[in-house]
Amino acid sequence: MIGRILGLGLSALLLASPAMAQDKVKVGFIATFSGPGGVLGQHLHDGFMLGIEHSGGKLGGLAVEVIKEDDRLAPDVGLQVAKKLIERDRVDVMAGVIFSNVMMAIYKPVIEAGIPFISSNAGPSPIAGAQCSPLFFSTSWQNDGAHEAMGKHVQDKGYKNVYLMAPNYQAGKDALAGFKRFYQGKVADEVYTTVNQLDYSAEITQLRAAKPDAVYVFYPGGMGINFVKQYGQAGLIKDIPMFSAFTVDSTTLPAQGDAAIGTQITAFWGYDLKNPVNEKFVTDYRKKHNDLPSTYSAQAYDTALLLNAAIKDTGGKVADKKALAEAIKKASFDSVRGGKLKFNNNNIPIQNFYLLETVKGADGKLASSVRSTVLTDHKDAYAKDCPMK
């Protein structure tokens, strides 16, 4: 009997809590931590935790509990862990998510549960467009951004006959479509390969025979390692320059080796971008992990900084999710990109895209170094379909 009364009292306390400022914020952090994509989740999580550390180990003055879940790059698993975070852990805010297919599976349930959701990586077009939500934010980009930037760069450099390659799935098709939105020249051929293909000798032989001016590829993760190595081994890099996005980065470079030297990529950020926030981020990340941060870590670092600023603005009242989302929208903080992060009407950042070139540093390690700005204050092509103002 006494236990029951005590239980009632406790639940009354729990029910009453939303009105008061909480002493803790719970963050559900979903990413891919296992399988070949696992290294990306690791970088994402490392960046996020460093962001919290730089905010004094807290977010907006509140103690943080980060509940980390692995989606195993499977949409159904992602949905399962998202439901667990919403229903059992009752998280205040959700963050993370590497892959767009996982994002599409968990987006609706999270938004319908009324929980603010910050994507630290995936930016599929439907969410940037018609399905946008006042609860959803991105500290990364809409998927097409880097491809559009490379399309512009290749166009500006005067290449007239470009060979395009990508894996045969939605993101691959979107990538080449994004590239062609800005590249107006002739397409020598457009080749789609099986997802997770290991050997590209047949395709590289066809590519050589087609004699294009340049090649543009989108091969994320292990596919990029295989393709870049084999392209280098075929001796083509000198004759046919290779441009890419999401194919060469600090997660793949150690495995790609010297074959990647001289290849150019486009991204919203580079480790040597000159601004105080980035310098602090890169220095401390290196100290901690003895490795250069990747775009994944940079994006997730910004996720933590954004949450820190927003929660501070609410005065720690994270229980009011609507107010929290409004605070995220209005939050002002210095991003690793340099300056304040600006959201478009669809809550995707308005940002620059840079050209980066892979070079061997003084320490013998490969890194992609910022060369020039390709797109300034770029807005994605889907924002016009988003009804939000």
Partner: protein
Amino acid sequence: MDPVLLLVQALNGLQLGVMLFLLAAGLTLVFGIMNLVNLAHGSLYMVGAYLMAAFQGWTGSFVAALLLAVPATLLVGVAVELIVLRRLYDRDHLDQVLGTFGLILFFNELVRVIWGPAALFVAMPSALSGTVALLPGAPYPVYRLVIIGAGLLVAAFLSWLVTQTRTGMLIRAGASNPIMVAALGVDIRLLFTLVFGLGAALAGLAGALAAPLLSVESAMGDGVLILTFVVIVIGGIGSIRGAFVAAVLVGIVDTVGRAFLPILLREIFNRQVANAAGPALASMLIYLLMAAILAFRPRGLFGARG
């Protein structure tokens, strides 16, 4: 169609085929002689590649790493046989599938625990990293030619081992009637361990040779395992000769199909349809080949069991 291009693509196909043969030879013997469905064969390939990376980091030499990685994978294979697979021989195929699938998960996680989630790099020796002009206008990577050569050497060695030696005689006998071999007083357990070790060493060799071409990462053996099963089914379970013919066949059909099918489709359909259907159809080709062959020869090309 350009004949030089076709020739180079056939060579690419041969190289893939030789790689598949190294994997299929072990798998077909294990399946044929021990009647064991070993899904973990791809894991041994992955272990070979990881050990190659580890030994190369340690010794700094490609050849030394190769010479260490292959026997080390053999030992891993023997350990797996002694600790796990022995208990599965008398079970039915479903139990074996479950058990060896468990091994896949175990090995995928093990390499992540030891070497971390990031892919590893294996350098190829600089003498082999260039290209050589086989025909004017058709440069070909030297390393891939070396793989073809190594694979053919292994095939010749296996052919000698199986047809000319006493061990080979027992292997052939084991493939066609293992119970009779045991009844004749041959230590079948030792033979099993030997065959499994040989298969593991070949898988390790394939992994170690592929390591400079591919990203060495967790689960890298899972995809190639499916192709290997296609090869041994086409070739006939238990037949080394079948494995060789089928591996080269699958390698060439897959490569030439990937290269030319989308182009052929473009002659018939518009570009968009061809681009969408081409890769899908090309990746189906080997399964169509398998279905066609099984329709006429249900035991595969060189099925050992009558």
